[in-house]
C-alpha cells in the first residue's frame, strides 16, 4: 500500500505503508541513532512528533513482548508508543533476537501507529537539516481522507505526565522525580542506585512534595520548555528556598535556566541521537551523550549566580547549567541514556552522593 509524507514546505516523499495503515501529523524530526528504536519510539519527549529513523535499516532485532501494566522494565521507556508516526527506509521483517517476539511493523500496527517505509531517509534528513524541522503529514493507506489527529504542542506536557503520584521503593533516601515526560530509565537509574523515587506529574504541588524528600530531579519532556509556566514558577520558588540537591535533565535543564532568569531558544533542527559530544567546561573532559531536544538554553542569558556547565562541542550550544551557590544543576543531555551511551551516568552517582551527604529528610 502506498503512503506519502508531505512536508509543510510542499516537499513530498513517497513510500509504502508500514505499521498501522493510517495518517498522522506532527513536527517531523530525525534521529541518527543506529539502534534503540524501541527506546526512542516510547520516549515521551517525542510525543506529538513524526520520527524519522535516519539509519536505513530498522527493526533488525525485533521487539520484545509488551510489559505488564505498571511495570518499569526496558527496553520500553514508557507504557506506550509516543510518536505520531514513523518514517524509515528499509524495514527488516525477518528480525533476529532472543528477546524479540514480533517485528517492528507488527508492534506499530498493534498500537495503531502509522508509518511509512521506503523513504530515502538520508535525503529527508538533509532536507530537515537544511530547512529546519517542520510540520509534516503522513498519509497512508485507506484512511487518507479521514480526520487526522493532531497533538496540541502548546500543552503536550499534560499528555505525557503521569496521572498520579507513584512511589517506588528502592532505599532509605527518597528522590522526587518531577515528570513532564521523563523516560522510565531515569527512575530505573535512581532505583538501581539504592534510593526510593517519588514520581509526580509536573502539575503536582512541587514545593510541598520537595519538602518531604532528599533531592529533586526535574526530568525530560517534549516540546517548548516555556509551555511549562507553572513548573517554571514552582522551580523558581525551589531555587530560592530549597537547599537540597536539584538535578535537571534535558527539559529539566531548561526549566532550571528559565526559573533562574535565563532564556531558551529553538534550535534549527534540534539534537536527536546518541552521539552528541559535550565538554565539561571546568575540567575539559568530553563525553558522548544521548540527546533529544529541540530547544536550548542561551549561555549568555544565564543570570548572576549561574554558569554554563557543559557545552556541545559540535555547535557550542549549552549542554548544562549550574548554580555557583547551591547544589542546583542541570544537563541538557540524557545521562540515563536508553538509547545511547552511559558515559555520563556518573552524574547520578554525583547527585546521589550530594543527597546522601545531607541529613535525611
Amino acid at each position: 500500500m502506498r503512503a506519502e509524507l508531505r512536508l509543510e514546505d510542499g516537499t513530498r516523499f513517497e513510500g509504502t505503508v508500514f505499521g498501522a495503515a493510517g495518517s498522522a501529523v506532527g513536527e517531523v524530526v530525525f534521529t541518527t541513532a543506529m539502534t534503540g528504536y524501541v527506546e526512542s519510539l516510547t520516549d515521551p519527549s517525542y510525543r506529538g512528533q513524526i520520527l524519522v529513523l535516519t539509519y536505513p535499516l530498522a527493526g533488525g532485532y525485533g521487539v520484545p513482548p509488551d510489559r505488564p501494566e505498571g511495570s518499569l522494565i526496558g527496553p520500553f521507556e514508557s507504557s506506550q508508543i509516543q510518536v505520531q508516526g514513523v518514517v524509515l527506509q528499509n524495514p527488516i521483517d525477518r528480525y533476529s533476537h532472543h528477546a524479540g517476539t514480533r517485528s517492528l511493523s507488527q508492534w506499530l500496527e498493534s498500537h495503531g501507529i502509522p508509518g511509512i517505509a521506503g523513504v530515502d531517509t538520508r535525503a529527508l534528513t538533509i532536507h530537515l537539516r537544511a530547512h529546519g524541522t517542520m510540520r509534516g503529514w503522513l498519509i497512508g493507506g485507506e484512511s487518507a481522507h479521514g480526520a487526522i489527529h493532531e497533538v496540541e504542542m502548546d500543552n503536550v506536557g499534560w499528555l505525557v505526565a503521569p496521572l498520579e503520584i507513584v512511589r517506588y521503593e528502592g532505599g532509605d533516601r527518597t528522590v522526587l522525580v518531577i515528570d513532564a515526560g521523563a523516560k522510565d530509565h531515569l527512575v530505573r537509574s535512581l532505583l538501581a542506585r539504592g534510593v526510593s523515587v517519588l514520581r509526580a506529574p509536573f502539575t503536582a504541588e512541587v514545593a510541598a512534595l520537595a519538602a518531604t524528600v532528599d533531592g529533586v530531579v526535574i526530568g525530560s519532556g517534549p516540546g517548548d520548555p516555556k509551555q511549562f509556566g507553572s513548573l517554571i514558577d514552582a522551580t523558581r520558588g525551589l531555587l530560592r528556598s530549597y537547599s537540597r540537591p536539584i538535578f535537571g535533565l534535558c527539559l529539566g535543564n531548561q526549566i532550571l535556566a528559565l526559573a533562574a532568569g535565563g532564556e531558551t531558544e529553538k534550535l534549527p533542527y534540534g539534537h536527536r541521537g546518541v552521539n552528541q559530544p559535550v565538554r565539561e567546561l571546568q575540567t575539559s573532559r568530553c563525553y558522548v551523550t544521548s540527546q533529544n531536544h529541540g530547544y536550548a538554553v542561551i549561555n549568555e542569558s544565564l543570570p548572576q549566580g549561574w554558569e554554563p556547565w557543559f557545552v556541545n562541542t559540535n555547535d557550542g550550544t549549552n549542554e548544562g547549567v549550574r548554580s555557583t551557590e547551591q547544589p542546583h544543576f542541570g544537563v541538557q543531555f540524557h545521562p540515563e541514556a536508553h538509547p545511547g551511551p552511559d558515559d555520563t551516568a556518573y552524574l547520578f552517582d554525583d547527585f546521589l552522593q550530594l543527597v546522601h551527604s545531607m541529613e535525611k529528610q
Binding site: T35, Y55, P56, D120, R122, T125, I126, V288, T313
Partner: protein, 1068 residues
C-alpha cells in the same frame, strides 16, 4: 607518561612486505601518521622496505630507509638520525614486536627515545595473553576460561581440564598464526606443536566459543582520558573464523540497543584500565541466546579492522591516533569531513557496509580450502549500500571472482550441508544454494551458526531473484527498482529475465532508474560534509556531489588485493591522481578496497567507493561527466574494462582501447609482432586433447607452457614436462571452460628474463627503465628477484630490448605507462607479453631511479608537457633489488615451489653499492637470515650439481658452513671431494632425514632445486620444502638465485654494512 613537549624527530616503523595477515592497511595507517606529524612541524623518518608503498614515496617522510624492520636496524637508525620518539603502532605486528624487543633490551631508554601513544606496558598487557586475562579480571571483564601454556605437555593438561573442543592461540601473533580449534584428542599434539611452531613461547588453551557471534569495536582514547567508540562491526561468520576471513558488516545488526551499549561501555572501561592512548580494537564473542560475552583480544595498534572502520565511517583513525600520540586532545583534532566539528564524536552511519575477504587458495598447490581461525585471505573489498542484500551482492561482484552477485547456482557442491557447516571461501554460495532450494533459515543457522538475520536478508535477495525469473516480457519498473535496490546488476537481471545487459540498461534509463551518489559524512547528514566521499546506491535519490567548473578525470583503482595485484597499483593510482590534480583537474577515484591509500578521501577530490564495472562506471560518468577515464593505473581489472567502456562511448584517456585489445589478445598481438619482425616464443591453440601431442612436436617438444585462455580464477598456467602431465592439465582446463581453447607455448629453458617499464606519448618513448631477473625465465615475474640496472645482460640485448620497446610503442601508438617482458638467450630476444598499463614494478623503478613514472605517464595521458631526464643505466652507482615475499607458512600444506604462476603476496626493494649488498638487504627484508649453522643441498639432476660445485665449495671452505645433502647430491659432491652429511629425503628412508635436520635447527638454509615431476606436474622434494617453511628456515628453489645468494654471502662476508637512507643512495 606523556611529555607535554612535542617530539622533534620521530621514527615511524612501517610493516615491510605485504603478507597474509598484514597487508596494505599499514601503508594507509603509516601514511596518515606521517601526514599528521608533518602538520605539527615534526620531522619523520620511516623504515619500510616495501618500495611499492605510498608512505615511502617522496614528499611524505623526511627520510626513508628501505631496510628490514629488525631491532638492529632500528637501533642503528635511532642513533644515526638522532631520533627522540618512535611510533610503534602503525606498522602492524612486525613493528609492534620490534618495538617491544627494543624496549625490553633497554635500547630505547639508553638512546632517550620516547614511545609515542600507547605505553609499552599496555602493549605487553594486550599482547601477552596471560597478562591480558589478569588485567581484565581486575575490573571484572570476562574472558574465555583458559590456561596459558608454555609446553605441549601443559597444553594437554589444559585441554583435559577444559574438556574438548578447545581453542589454541599464540601470544604476540598475527592473523591467528598457528591457532586452531581442536575437536579430537588425537589432533591435540599436532595442533599444539603447530601453535608453538609459529614462533611464540606462549599458547593459550581456552574454552571453545565456536558459533558465538563475533563483534568488534574500534576505540580511540586520548591522554586526557577522553574516549569514543568509533565503529562497531559484526561478523557474518561466527567465532572460529578469523575476522580477517569473515564477511563483516558495520554497524552491528543483531545486537539490541542495551547489548550494544553494554559492550561499548565494557570496551571503554577496559581501554581506560589498560591505559591505551591512540587507537585499539576490542574483539568480543557474544552468545546468540541470552546475553553473555567474552573479550577475545585487544589489538593496541592500528589494524586491518581499523582501516576498515576508517573507511566504513569516514573517521580517520590512524590520523587521529597519531595526533593523540603526541598528546593532542580528541576535541582539539578537527573532523576533516565536516570541517566544523571535532574528532571527539561517535560516527553515525546512514548506510551499511560489508567487507568480504578475497582468497587465492587455488594458486597454492596442495593447500586446503578450509578456512578457520588462521588468516589465509590475501585481500578484501568493502561494499556500501542500504541493505545487507545490496552490499552482499555488490561485494561479491567487487571480489572479481567471476560470480555476479549472490548467485545460488554459482558453484556445485558435492555435499551442500558440509559446505555450509565447514567454512570455505565458497560458504556464502553454499548458503545461498540451500536457501534457494528451500532449506529453512533455522536449518541453515543450525548448521552454520550464522545469525538468522543475515540468512533472512539473503533469502530476501533470493525472493527478488525468483520474481525476476518469473517475470516475462518487459520487466515492470517496480520490479526493476526492487531488483536494483536489492543489488542485482543489469547483467544478471538480463540473464534472469532473458534480456541483454544493454537492454536492461536502456529499460532502466527509460524508467528513470539511476543510482544516486550519497555521501559518507560521519554524522548521518546531521552536519554538511565538505568532502566528497560517496557511494552509489539505488536507495539514494540524489547526487550529492556538487557540479564543478574544473574538468574531471576518473581514475579506476585496482579493487581487492590479490596475488598479482596489490599495493603497487594503489601507488600508481595515488601518484597519478596527484599529477592530475597539479594540472588543475578534479580527480575522481573509483575503488573499493578498504586497505588502500587511494580510498583515503583526502587523496582525491571525489572518492567513489564502489564497484569497478562497466555498469557502475557508465552510471558514474552520467552523473559526474568526467572528460575521460584512466584505465591504466589500477592493474589488470580496469585494463580489462577498456574495450567495453570505449564501446559504450566512454572516453579512455591515453593509449586507445583498441591498442589495449591488441596487446591483450594473444592472436592479435602475435600477428603484430610477426608483422614488425619481433621474435616471440612459439605457440599454438589446442582445442582437443587428441591433437595436443602433435601440436607439442610442432613447437619442438617439451617442456611447454599451458595457459587456459579464459582465465577464470583457479584455471592456472602450468608447465608440462611430458605427455602425461599435459593430458592431466588439459583435462582439468577443459572442465573449467569447455568452449575455450587452450594456448600452448614453447617453454624456453635457461633463458634470462628482462623487464622493461616505460612511458610513451603518441608512440614516442619518454622514459625507459630496464631490469633483469636473477632467476631464469619460468619463475613468474612477480615472484622473481629483479635487479636494476641489469648486471649481466649483454649490451646488444639491452639495445635490442629498447629497440623493441620503441617499435611497439609506435605500432600501438602508446600514450601512458607500459611494460614489456622479454626472454633473452644468447643474442636472441623474445617478447613474452606487453601490458599497456602501469606494471607491478613501476613503483620500484620509479624509486630506484628517482623518476616519477606514474606521474609522467599521467601528464602524458592528459596531454600536458613533460620534462624528464633520461635514465642512463650505465651511470648508476648503486644497485636496486626487488625481492618477493611469500606467505607459504600461512597456507598449510601448500608447496612453496616457484613456477609460472605467481604465489608471492608482497615485495620489498632495497639498495646496495653492488648486487651482493642489495640482494642480501632485500632478502633480509623478506625474512631471510644469513646461515650460521649449516646448509642443506638437494639439487636434483646432475647438471645442476655440476653448476653448483663452486658454490658448494664456497659455502664450506670460505663461509665455514657445514653441508648436508640428500643422497644424489651427496654422491655428486663426494665425487668431487666436497664433504657433506648425507640425509634421507623421505622419512621412510634409513638414517636421519632432511626434515629432522631442519626441525632441529642443524640447517638454516635450504637449497632445493627439484627437476623431476610426477604426472600432475608436481616437483619432488615437497617434504623438505614444506619442512623448511614450517620451521621458518630460508628456502631457495631456483638455481640462479641460489648462486647469486652464495656469491653475495661470499663477497659480503666480514665486510661492514652501510645503513644508508634512500636520499643518500639515489641522487635527486
Amino acid at each position: 607518561m606523556q611529555s607535554s613537549e612535542l617530539p622533534r624527530r620521530v621514527l615511524v616503523l612501517g610493516s615491510g612486505a605485504l603478507e597474509i595477515g598484514q597487508a596494505g592497511e599499514f601503508d594507509y595507517s603509516g601514511s596518515q601518521a606521517i601526514k599528521a606529524l608533518k602538520e605539527e612541524g615534526i620531522q619523520t623518518v620511516l623504515i619500510n622496505a616495501n618500495i611499492a608503498t605510498i608512505q615511502t614515496s617522496a614528499g611524505l617522510a623526511d627520510r626513508v630507509y628501505f631496510v628490514a624492520i629488525s631491532p638492529e636496524n632500528v637501533s642503528e637508525i635511532l642513533e644515526r638520525e638522532r631520533i627522540d620518539a618512535i611510533l610503534l603502532s602503525f606498522g602492524g605486528q612486525t613493528a609492534l614486536n620490534t618495538g617491544l624487543a627494543l624496549e625490553g633490551s633497554g635500547t630505547l631508554s639508553r638512546l632517550g627515545v620516547r614511545v609515542l601513544g600507547t605505553p609499552v606496558r599496555a602493549i605487553r598487557d594486550t599482547e601477552d595473553r596471560g597478562l591480558f586475562i589478569e588485567r581484565l579480571a581486575e575490573i571484572g571483564v570476562k574472558t574465555a576460561r583458559s590456561y596459558v601454556c608454555t609446553t605441549i605437555e601443559e597444553a594437554h593438561t589444559a585441554a583435559r581440564l577444559l574438556g574438548l573442543p578447545v581453542m589454541l592461540r599464540g601470544g604476540f601473533a598475527l592473523g591467528g598464526m598457528g591457532s586452531g580449534i581442536v575437536d579430537r584428542e588425537s589432533d591435540l599434539h599436532a595442533a599444539a606443536a603447530r601453535a608453538f611452531g609459529s614462533g611464540t613461547k606462549q599458547v593459550l588453551v581456552e574454552e571453545c566459543l565456536r558459533g558465538w557471534k563475533e563483534i568488534e569495536y574500534e576505540i580511540v582514547r586520548d591522554s586526557h582520558d577522553n574516549s569514543v567508540a568509533v565503529c562497531s562491526m559484526e561478523n557474518f561468520d561466527p567465532m572460529g573464523v578469523h575476522t580477517g576471513e569473515s564477511i563483516v558488516v558495520a554497524p552491528t545488526q543483531t545486537l539490541s540497543e542495551a547489548e550494544n551499549q553494554e559492550l561499548r561501555s565494557i570496551a571503554l572501561r577496559t581501554v581506560r584500565h589498560l591505559g591505551i592512548v591512540g587507537e585499539c580494537n576490542i574483539q568480543y564473542a557474544v552468545a546468540s541466546g541470552a546475553f553473555d560475552y567474552r573479550v577475545i583480544e585487544i589489538n593496541a595498534r592500528l589494524s586491518r579492522s581499523s582501516a576498515l572502520a576508517s573507511k566504513a565511517t569516514g573517521y580517520p583513525l590512524a590520523y587521529v591516533a597519531a595526533k593523540l600520540s603526541i598528546g593532542r586532545r580528541l576535541d582539539d583534532v578537527p573532523n576533516g569531513v565536516t570541517g566544523c566539528t571535532t574528532a571527539f564524536f561517535e560516527p553515525a552511519l546512514d548506510y551499511i557496509v560489508c567487507k568480504m575477504p578475497r582468497w587465492d587458495l587455488d594458486k597454492f598447490r596442495g593447500a586446503s580450502m578450509r578456512i578457520g581461525s588462521e588468516m589465509k585471505s590475501v585481500g578484501e573489498i568493502m561494499a556500501i549500500g542500504r541493505t545487507f542484500g545490496e552490499v552482499l551482492q555488490k561485494g561479491i561482484r567487487m571480489l572479481d571472482v567471476g560470480v555476479d552477485g549472490l548467485d545460488p547456482d554459482a558453484h556445485c557442491f558435492d555435499d551442500l550441508e558440509d559446505a555450509i557447516q565447514n567454512p570455505t571461501p565458497l560458504r556464502v554460495f553454499a548458503v545461498a544454494q540451500a536457501l534457494a532450494r528451500g532449506t529453512s533459515i533455522a536449518r541453515v543457522a543450525e548448521l552454520s551458526a550464522i545469525d538468522p538475520w543475515f540468512l533472512g536478508e539473503m533469502l530476501g535477495v533470493l525472493e527478488v531473484e525468483a520474481s525476476l525469473r518469473a517475470s516475462t516480457g518487459s520487466i515492470a519498473s517496480d520490479l526493476l527498482r526492487r531488483a536494483k535496490q536489492a543489488g542485482f546488476s543489469d547483467r544478471r537481471i538480463g540473464l534472469l529475465t532473458g534480456a541483454t545487459e544493454t537492454s536492461v540498461r536502456e529499460r532502466r534509463r527509460a524508467a528513470g532508474l539511476a543510482p544516486g551518489l550519497a555521501k559518507i559524512d560521519t554524522l548521518a547528514a546531521e552536519f554538511p560534509a565538505q568532502t566528497n566521499y560517496v557511494y552509489a546506491s539505488h536507495h539514494a535519490s540524489a547526487c550529492e556531489v556538487p557540479d564543478s567548473i574544473h574538468p574531471r578525470v576518473l581514475i579506476l583503482g585496482s579493487g581487492p588485493y590479490r596475488i598479482g595485484s596489490s599495493v603497487e597499483f594503489d601507488w600508481s593510482c595515488v601518484t597519478a591522481a596527484k599529477a592530475a590534480s597539479a594540472l588543475g583537474f578534479e580527480t575522481i577515484m573509483l575503488n573499493n578496497n578498504p586497505e588502500t591509500v587511494s580510498t583515503d578521501h583526502d587523496e582525491c577530490d571525489i572518492l567513489v567507493f564502489d564497484e569497478i564495472s562497466v555498469e557502475s562506471i557508465l552510471d558514474l560518468c552520467a552523473r559526474l561527466q568526467p572528460v575521460g577515464v584512466i584505465v591504466s593505473m589500477g592493474g589488470q581489472l580496469p585494463n580489462r574494462l577498456a574495450l567495453p567502456l570505449a564501446r559504450a562511448g566512454v572516453s579512455i584517456l591515453g593509449t586507445s582501447a583498441d591498442s589495449i585489445d591488441v596487446a591483450e589478445d594473444r592472436q592479435k598481438f602475435s600477428a603484430l609482432l610477426d608483422q614488425i619482425g619481433i621474435d616471440q616464443p612459439r605457440w599454438v591453440h589446442v582445442t582437443d586433447t587428441e591433437s595436443a601431442e602433435e601440436m607439442v612436436s610442432r613447437l619442438g617438444g617439451y617442456p611447454v607452457l599451458v595457459r587456459p585462455s579464459y582465465v577464470l580464477s583457479g584455471a592456472a598456467m602450468m608447465v608440462a614436462h611430458a605427455h602425461g602431465e599435459l593430458v592431466n592439465i588439459l583435462s582439468r582446463a577443459a572442465k573449467v571452460t569447455p568452449e575455450h581453447p587452450v594456448v600452448i607455448s614453447k617453454f624456453e629453458t635457461h633463458a634470462r628474463e628482462v623487464e622493461l617499464d616505460a612511458v610513451a606519448r603518441e608512440g614516442e618513448l619518454l622514459l625507459v627503465a630496464i631490469s633483469e631477473h636473477v632467476e631464469d625465465a619460468g619463475v613468474h615475474s612477480g615472484d622473481a628477484t629483479i635487479v636494476l640496472p641489469p648486471q649481466r645482460l649483454y649490451l646488444p640485448t639491452i639495445r635490442r630490448v629498447r629497440e623493441i620497446a620503441t617499435q611497439l610503442a609506435r605500432a600501438l601508438q602508446i600514450t601512458g605507462p607500459f611494460n614489456i617482458q622479454f626472454l633473452a638467450r644468447n643474442d636472441e630476444v623474445k617478447v613474452i607479453e606487453c601490458n599497456l598499463r602501469a606494471s607491478r614494478s613501476l613503483p620500484f623503478v620509479s624509486k630506484a631511479t628517482n623518476r616519477d613514472f606514474a606521474g609522467i605517464a599521467m601528464r602524458a595521458m592528459l596531454g600536458a608537457p613533460v620534462d624528464v631526464l633520461p635514465i642512463d643505466l650505465l651511470e648508476l652507482e648503486y644497485v636496486a633489488v626487488k625481492s618477493p615475499k611469500f606467505s607459504f607458512s600461512r597456507i598449510a600444506g601448500a608447496d612453496p615451489m616457484l613456477g609460472v604462476e605467481m604465489t608471492s603476496t608482497g615485495e620489498v626493494g632495497c639498495f646496495g653499492h653492488d648486487l651482493g649488498e642489495a640482494l642480501l638487504e632485500s632478502l633480509i627484508a623478506t625474512g631471510f637470515r644469513i646461515p650460521k649453522n649449516g646448509v642443506l643441498l638437494s639439487l636434483g639432476p646432475v647438471i645442476d650439481k655440476y653448476a653448483f660445485y663452486d658454490e658448494a665449495r664456497v659455502l664450506m671452505e670460505e663461509l665455514n658452513l657445514p653441508l648436508f645433502a640428500t643422497s644424489g647430491t651427496f654422491d655428486a659432491l663426494s665425487a668431487v671431494d666436497i664433504a657433506s652429511t648425507r640425509l634421507a629425503k623421505h622419512p621412510s628412508e634409513a638414517g636421519p632425514s632432511a626434515m629432522e635436520a631442519i626441525e632441529r635447527g642443524l640447517v638454516d638454509l635450504v637449497i632445493n632445486i627439484p627437476r623431476t615431476f610426477d604426472s600432475e606436474g608436481r616437483p619432488d622434494g615437497y617434504l623438505i620444502r614444506r619442512a623448511a617453511i614450517d620451521a621458518r628456515v630460508p628456502l631457495v628453489t631456483e638455481l640462479k638465485l641460489a648462486r647469486a645468494i652464495v656469491d653475495a654471502l661470499r663477497t659480503r662476508a666480514g665486510r661492514p654494512r652501510n645503513l644508508l637512507a634512500w636520499d643518500e643512495i639515489v641522487p635527486n
